[in-house]
Amino acid sequence: MKSKLINFALIKFFLILGSTHAMANLSNGEWQPQIVEKMYILPPKQLDRVLNNDFRNSSLYLNLKTADDKIKSRYSKIDQLNKSIPQFKGDEQIELKHQVIVEKKEYITDMSERLKIKREHLLTKKRFFEKIKRKTLFQKGDQNFKAKSKFQASREKALKRSKKLDKKISKLLIGNNMSNNSKYFSEYQKTMSAMQQLETKIKFHPKFQENDLLLNSENKLESLNVFIDKLESELSVLALKEQVLTKMAKLVSLDAMELADSLQINIPQGNEFKDVNDPTDSVNLFLN
């Protein structure tokens, strides 16, 4: 009976190993980042934080958490069983060993599920950052195009020339006591001075200096590339973990085979199967 059970577990185990591709198609939940486009201007670090918060509200995260909990409980169960095996002997020990193999098989299944969810999470995140990168590249291209525009260039040149003269104009107006006559210029000066103060404050703001990404598309691109590289390396680590899982599965199958073999050895010789259709096996009937 025991050997039948173990053989059944073995067959089931190999079936699971063979059906990994089919399982990849199973639904592991969904996560579609619900981030408004206005947030795209955020520096990648902040964007990552927003993205992680968004992920926590998805069904994919819920499944990841469930898988995590399952894995934790399986791990402690396997650990407990492994510790209690030496305390038993005979059939009870075999039963425990069988339990360990079954739990290990379930552990591998859960772990494989978890890795799939994690891969989906990382891939979605990578796709999101790649989308932002494409947008930033497009904006950069657009800015370059604008900068190349003849009118834009002459307008910027004119503005620079005009700003250089601001002090001179101010002196002229005050010197000739005409500052009241120029309504726009006095307001313009006030606004410019306020803007300058704000710009200085922004420039020396620790967060701005830390990121310098809100205005600098070059830096933003660089930072996005760093994030995408990081995600790719995480995905590579996942692939490695999947390899570890395959090795674990192989080891469990070998354990299961070993257990099955030991059961065959333990079967007493007297209970050996006798073929009654063979006259040599039935000779004892005639000898008694």
């Binding site: 009118f151 503005l159 005009s162 107006l173 006559n181 120029s182 726009y184 210029f185 313009y188």
Partner: protein
């Protein structure tokens, strides 16, 4: 029917002319007034200086408004493009302040009417 089409056309034209009357147009109006004042034969020199001085402040404001009008960059007309390309002729006060010269002299010099050039000219009788 024809009247209706004409009316629609007039409405569209009026809308277009409304768009045209932007900051550049306003600047051009004051600039033209200033240049006219420079050569007005009906006023004496002190009157001219006084009037130009008053217009200068107005012109200065108009120039600043045009220079800081970010809407112009969205869809600049040929007039606007030309206005920015010829800075010295469009922004009379700014250009004069750059060179520390009176508006009229600066404008005439930019046109090529310098004192030296005028001295070199000769009168011929045909």
């Amino acid at each position: 029917m024809r009247n209706k089409i004409m009316l629609t056309l007039m409405m569209i034209m009026s809308m277009l002319s409304g768009v045209e009357a932007g900051t550049v147009e306003n600047l051009e109006r004051v600039r033209a007034k200033t240049i006219t004042m420079m050569f007005d034969k009906n006023i004496n020199e002190s009157q001219r200086a006084e009037k130009i001085e008053k217009l200068k402040i107005k012109l200065l404001d108009m120039e600043k408004i045009v220079l800081n009008d970010s809407d112009l960059a969205k869809n600049p007309s040929n007039k606007t493009i030309k206005a920015f390309e010829t800075f010295n002729f469009t922004f009379l006060v700014h250009s004069a302040l750059e060179k520390d010269k009176p508006i009229s002299i600066n404008w005439l010099e930019d046109l090529g009417f310098t004192s030296d050039n005028l001295k070199r000219t000769q009168a011929y009788r045909k």
